[in-house]
């Protein structure tokens, strides 16, 4: 039984491991990202310590409490409201001076404050030493050293919070003040006050932190490699290509094993359903409809996701994504877009709905709309496996090194096209309906960090892969049932499925596709992951599948239904550019508050995809 309950506010700069502290204390798995402003909404979690309950409120990562962006307002309002019994500020030991700025501001607003100097392991690696006792004495608040990623310091933080709410230290004397506030203009006073806080932060650091002269040499060397004129872009493409290649080369065999296993269970399942006395029609709906679609989703989607997600998370954890934003910013600037749009675009590679939500980090409404409207132009995790499957089937059948390299290169090409299209449409928007000049922006390039490989594997498997897979399966089961019903209900001459496909066929043919492919995309509206499985179900609804042996077999099914290289290229283009999925549409509606903008966000990529498909179709027809 817990009697007392306390509320603790959790504040800190972006990229200091604040979310890791939050997860570590509360055991709530919340994904931590490395791009500034990831935690836009506040999350709450709780832990119990010495029989008392502590509610932890995770505030948005901010550099300051006094600026005007949405995140800072949330953080400031919460901290200044006095709702929390204590505030825990998390700081990065490798750039403590900048982090103390926020700490000093928080101390000016509220009491008691506990400072957690995190990432001490990373600091040690760089030869940076922090005298925690000296810092504690100078600040007059408890200072806890931690390396929370490896679990160090969590207990000390809990104890410090316990002490802070029960036996708080006396409020420390003011750390910085504006000299002669009366004789200065408001702007001069602002400069003086901010200057005073920063000077105090420097003083504190000079006294407590020893940074060897060459502490950041490694980061600068890496920056030269990752962002210089000569190597920045090639290395970026190479890294991305490598990730794709590992995914493609590695996914093939497990995908085949998985599908063999799952499909070998189909008939036993039917037998089981028969034994419990279900009618044949229900047996068939469950096995041929629901089970088969789910089995396909799992076997086609799981292996590439299980390889791609951890690799992507490794790059993210190492601090590489802000460098991508740095490399690409010039292009966004030319497109009249906000610099942070490159970050929201990167989030879009994970999930377009997250990317759209992430656009909150863009202050200017005009640039925010551009970022929202163009987010679906980059393929999300749900579409990657479809692209990978298409490319692998039609370009890497042999399974040899050369063919997997070819399909990785093609996937890379697809991504470059997607980014180019994002820029093109952004430019178009900023020249037409959303006119204006880009507003100012500053991008932090956080220190590189050695990713915790074990944790990354576990976390990206649990958080991302299973989450996305779960969503896909939830959607795939009813979709499988619908398609089975459509394939078995009669509509005039043939089945309802064929009638729908026949209806869409003229448009599909114009785009180099067919009616069934368009129908699969329409049925895949709730989740893009199920497009290929639904398509196969559609093709097979009339025939029957005897033996299934992986992607080679899938390709045979597609070939039987009239697919050529030409169809595969058009299908890949339409996978890249078509209407956003249901979740993304709902998010766009919520974020823009307007049906009109949502309609435009649907229309833009769909129109782009249809036009491109028609163009490619025309080219193929002319060349043939």
């Amino acid at each position: 039984m817990t009697e007392n309950a306390y509320t603790i506010a959790l504040a800190g700069n972006p990229n200091v491991g604040k979310s890791t502290v939050f997860n570590g204390l509360t055991n709530l798995h919340q994904h931590t990202g490395n791009w500034p402003g990831k935690t836009v909404a506040t999350a709450r979690g709780a832990f119990t310590y010495r029989g008392e309950r502590y509610t932890l409120v995770d505030l948005p990562g901010t550099y300051s409490l006094f600026a005007d962006s949405a995140e800072e307002e949330i953080a400031r309002d919460y901290i200044c409201s006095g709702e929390a019994d204590a505030t825990l500020v998390v700081a990065d030991a490798t750039c403590l001076e900048r982090n103390l700025n926020l700490t000093l501001q928080v101390m000016a607003c509220t009491h008691p404050v506990v400072l957690c100097v995190n990432l001490l392991d990373e600091a040690e690696r760089k030869g940076i030493t922090v005298d925690l006792m000296a810092l504690q004495d100078a600040l007059g608040i408890p200072v806890i050293g931690a390396a929370v990623r490896s679990g160090q310091g969590l207990a000390a933080i809990q104890e410090a919070l316990h002490q802070a709410v029960h036996h708080p230290l006396p409020p420390p004397p003011p750390q910085a003040a504006c000299p002669d506030a009366d004789s200065l203009s408001p702007e001069e006073c602002q400069d003086a006050l901010v200057g005073a806080i920063l000077r105090r932060a420097k003083e504190l650091c000079d006294a407590a932190v020893r940074v060897p002269e060459h502490a950041n040499d490694r980061d600068r060397r890496l920056d030269r490699l990752f962002t210089s004129k000569a190597t920045g872009i090639p290395v970026m493409l190479l890294l991305l290509g490598l990730v794709f290649w590992i995914t493609i080369a590695g996914a093939n065999v497990p995908s085949e094993l998985l599908s063999r296993l799952l499909f070998s269970l189909q008939e036993p399942l039917r037998g089981l359903l028969a034994r419990i006395g279900l009618p044949v029609i229900v047996q068939s709906a469950i096995t041929d409809g629901i089970y088969r679609t789910v089995a396909w989703v799992v076997s086609v989607m799981l292996p590439p996701m299980a390889i791609f997600f951890p690799l992507f998370t490794l790059l993210e954890d190492a601090g590489y994504l802000p460098r991508v934003a740095f490399n690409l910013d010039h292009c966004f600037q030319c497109a009249g877009a906000h610099g942070r749009q490159s970050l929201t675009m990167c989030m879009g590679f994970g999930c377009n709905a997250c990317g759209v939500m992430g656009c909150r980090i863009i202050d200017s409404p005009r640039e925010r709309l551009i970022a929202i409207l163009t987010n679906s132009f980059v393929p999300c995790n749900g579409r990657f496996p479809t692209l990978i499957a298409l490319l692998t089937m039609f370009f890497a059948v042999g399974g040899g090194l050369a063919s997997s390299l070819v399909s990785a290169a093609l996937l890379l090409l697809a991504i470059v096209c997607a980014v180019a299209m994002t820029l093109l449409v952004s430019r178009l928007l900023s020249r037409t309906v959303l006119k204006g000049t880009p507003s100012s922006f500053a991008l932090e390039l956080p220190p590189y960090r050695m990713p915790q490989i074990g944790q990354v594997l576990v976390r990206s498997l649990l958080d991302r892969t299973l989450f996305v897979l779960g969503r896909a399966v939830t959607v795939a089961a009813p979709a499988g049932l619908i398609i089975w019903l459509m394939g078995n209900l009669r509509a005039g001459e043939g089945t309802l499925l064929n009638a729908c496909a026949a209806f869409l066929n003229p448009l599909g043919t114009w785009m180099g596709l067919d009616g069934m492919i368009l129908l699969a995309f329409l049925l895949g509206f709730p989740a893009n992951e199920i497009v290929i499985p639904v398509l196969l179900m559609g093709y097979l609804s009339t025939g029957s599948l005897t033996d299934y042996a992986g992607l080679t077999e899938l390709k045979a099914i597609l070939l039987q239904n009239g697919w050529t290289l030409h169809t595969a290229v058009c299908a890949a283009i339409f996978t890249l550019f078509h209407f956003p999925c249901g979740t993304t549409c709902a998010t766009i509606r919520r974020e823009t508050g307007s049906l009109g903008w949502t309609a435009l966000a649907v229309a833009l990529p769909t129109a782009a995809g249809m036009l491109l498909c028609m163009l490619v179709h025309l080219l193929f027809t002319l060349l043939a």
Binding site: Y63, R98, N101, Q190, R220, D329, H330, Q333, L445
Partner: protein, 83 residues
Amino acid sequence: MVSASTLDQLPVGCSATVKALSFAGSKRRRMLDLGFVPGSPVSALQASPWGDPVAYAVRGAVIALRRQDAKQISILAKGGSWT
């Protein structure tokens, strides 16, 4: 000799001191928070592949600014090693 200029003209590899900011309102506040305060030492670390933005070291962090924003920050060169 001490020469004054704006941050966008600071060559990569060189250091200077922030003299003043010509931003106003929330933009000014943001720049101050990032450490671009009169008197802060600042050095240009690395240009992006297209030459703009440029990454600057200021107050122990690395911040990338676009040229149009760096233009709004005037600086004092240290020792006049460049003009």
